[in-house]
Amino acid sequence: MNFDFNEDQRALADTLQRFVSREYSFERRRAIRDSTAGWSRDVWQGLADLGVLAINIDEDYGGLGYGPQETGLVMNAAGRGLLLEPYLASAVIAPALIRRTTSADFQEQWLPAIASGEAVVVLAHADARSAPATELGGNLSGHKSVVAHGGCADLLLVSAQMPNGDTGLFAVSPGADGLRLRDYPTLDGQRAADIIMDSTPATRIDAGGALDQIEAALDIGLAALCAEAVGIMEATLAATTEYLKTRQQFGQPIGRFQALQHRMADMLLHLEQARSMSYLAAMHCTGKDAPARQRILSAAKVTSGQACRFVAQNAVQLHGGMGMTDELMLSHWFKRLTTIEMSFGDTDSHLARFARLSRAA
């Protein structure tokens, strides 16, 4: 057992951290966020040049063939910088899904394009309650809701219920007939989209078992999300520590007040527990035994979600009024942590799922 990263991994992390601190200043990020697209093709190309879009893609398809640990390192660094680009969607979840579901031809067509940054591919899975997606005669109808980065996709991978009740996975062009895409900002400054399809032409790309494979891919995404949360919490804690050392009230740095010291200790406990679970999630997220895998990932999401909530809220609280301003990175970390806690199922739902799976195990 060892918890050290190897040299390649450390180099990858360093490179990305440098990239983020060079290319992703607070002001630059704000400009990107406020742009029409809400993300930067230049940054995306920069990430491609660093090779990080390729890490989840096999070497056969122009990738680096790395795994969840390296993905975690990337997410960790991306988290600190609050990258607005669709990394999780297109460079983590989409390759994992394409590798699992599709034919070699499809993989040949799309994986190199993802790795090189030419194509952004996004899974649209969650249905609006009112209008779940269905397939009929090769066309899809229905409403996919709050699809992260759905608006910037060159290709959508859309799940839909087929007449026989199975779930199929379909390739859909964002420009296809009958597809209406409503792109909007989310709380964290990223983008999401609602996608409404009315007899939209689609190509089935799975060979059966799509639902299990989608869940497997989402679990890889969830592990990456947990790593992102750790990166943001690290940054949040560091900034808060620094603030407590600097901010003077009652004639001393407020970090001398024991109640605040103990709050910081509690925040660190949350962070370290979340870090541990992000390692465990990375180790297990590719597991083939779905209930065993899901049990660990639910545990990781519970730990991560509770940590996100606690660290985010208390970092703002300890910053006082300054914590409420849009001017500090802190408030943006707060919103991303809040969004993470709400994504991929909330804490309670994972707690209940963990209880169920533990009992069955």
Binding site: Y184, T186, G251, L260, V316, Q317, T338, M342
Partner: protein, 384 residues
């Protein structure tokens, strides 16, 4: 001990309820009940409707034109106003500077300012906090130098809520830089139109413009706009802080928001989830208890008006409950809480929940952070 409202109080509640239901404009009501930001004019409109009814001076004694309500009546008024979707009264004029004027102002000051507050002809804001003086308010640095009949004021105030709407600001300023902390402070009323006053917006994490920086550069303030004695401002400031804390528990608003949470949870089918139902039950129980605690404090307060350190209990629990409700509303709608102020994504009620959650983080920070409140409780109540 009798925990029932008296028949008179119940009749009064009925009266307020009917008044709000009959007189509150539907547009304002809709905004309040859905967590949508109100414009200045909407606040003013409601205040004028109250004023026309003779209820403009909420919380004021009769001698100054107020309705002369007891603390319990005031509580009932606030609760029914919140319940009916009326805006929260803008407290800076009505509840903060007005009691100071009544207690320490000259008759001239009272006549000049109080009627315009009641009639919503002038909007007030608060100039207490500074960048270097938050929890440690007494370390404030804004300087006022006497020059003939005027003070020349220089400094910077911050977290000035709705300062962008204000006609007047009441400020704590340092008039004796040699004196120690609390003792060299004076309390000035400053016309926001004075040359040298600049208001700069602070955007908060929910993306809203609710607070401001107020820069004061060589602002001339007539001596007659000083409250009370020079260098005694801290006394008036503390008096005001006590009044700021009436209705600090926010029971009425919390009850209204809890009802909204329940409707949302019902719509979203969340009440069938035992963990969600338990969280909802917990906050409902906490609020039920706080309502009684609040009434106990009101009852003990009696004619005194300004609550003691017990108000810190109300502030802490009240803010925690409102924050918990905001969290649960967000949780109830799941992913639909994420679209940022999008009225046409997901159910109508989801549009502002994420931003609302962010905004309400202020409750445990502003008005004396909850940490400061715990200092007060442990030191003033428990003697530690």
């Amino acid at each position: 001990m009798d925990l029932n409202f008296s028949p008179e109080e119940t009749a009064f509640r009925e009266q307020v309820r009917r008044f709000v239901s009959e007189n509150l404009p539907a547009g304002i009501r809709h905004k309040v009940l859905n967590g949508i930001h109100l414009e200045r004019e909407e606040h003013v409109q409601w205040q004028r409707i109250l004023h026309a009814r003779g209820w403009g001076g909420v919380g004021w004694p009769r001698e100054f034109g107020g309705p002369g309500w007891s603390p319990t009546e005031l509580y009932i008024f606030e609760e029914e106003s919140a319940r009916g979707g009326a805006p929260r009264l803008i407290s800076f004029g009505l509840k903060m500077i007005a009691p100071v004027l009544m207690a320490f102002g000259t008759p001239a000051q009272q006549q000049r300012f109080l009627p315009k507050i009641m009639a919503a002809d002038e909007w007030w804001c608060q100039g207490y906090s500074e960048p270097g003086a938050g929890s440690d308010l007494a370390s404030l640095k804004t300087r006022a130098m006497r020059e003939g009949d005027c003070y020349i004021v220089n400094g910077q105030k911050t977290w000035t809520t709705l300062g962008q709407y204000a006609d007047w600001i009441f400020c704590l300023v340092r008039t004796d830089p040699e004196a120690k902390k609390q003792s060299g402070i004076s309390f000035l009323l400053i016309d926001m139109k004075s040359p040298g006053v600049t208001v700069r917006p602070i955007i908060t994490l929910d993306g809203a413009h609710e607070v401001n920086e107020v820069w004061l550069e060589d602002v001339r303030v007539p001596v007659e706009n000083r409250i009370g004695e020079e260098n005694k401002g801290w006394t008036y400031a503390k008096f005001l802080l006590g009044h700021e804390r009436t209705n600090i528990a926010g029971i009425g608003i919390a009850k209204r928001e809890l009802a909204r949470l329940k409707r949302i949870a019902e719509d979203e089918g969340r009440l069938d989830e035992p963990l969600f139902a338990a969280r909802l039950a917990q906050v409902e129980i906490d609020l039920m208890a706080l309502e009684i605690t609040n009434l106990r404090v009101l009852s003990a307060e009696g004619a005194k008006k300004a609550p003691g350190p017990e108000a810190s209990i109300l502030k802490i629990k009240g803010s925690e409950i409102q924050q918990a409700i905001a969290e649960l509303m967000m949780q109830a709608v799941g992913a639909y809480a994420l679209p940022y102020r999008q009225t046409d994504v997901g159910p109508d009620y989801a549009a502002n929940l994420g931003a609302g959650y962010c905004n309400l983080r202020k409750l445990s920070i502003f008005g004396g952070s909850n940490e400061i409140q715990k200092n007060i409780i442990s030191q003033m109540i428990m003697g530690l």
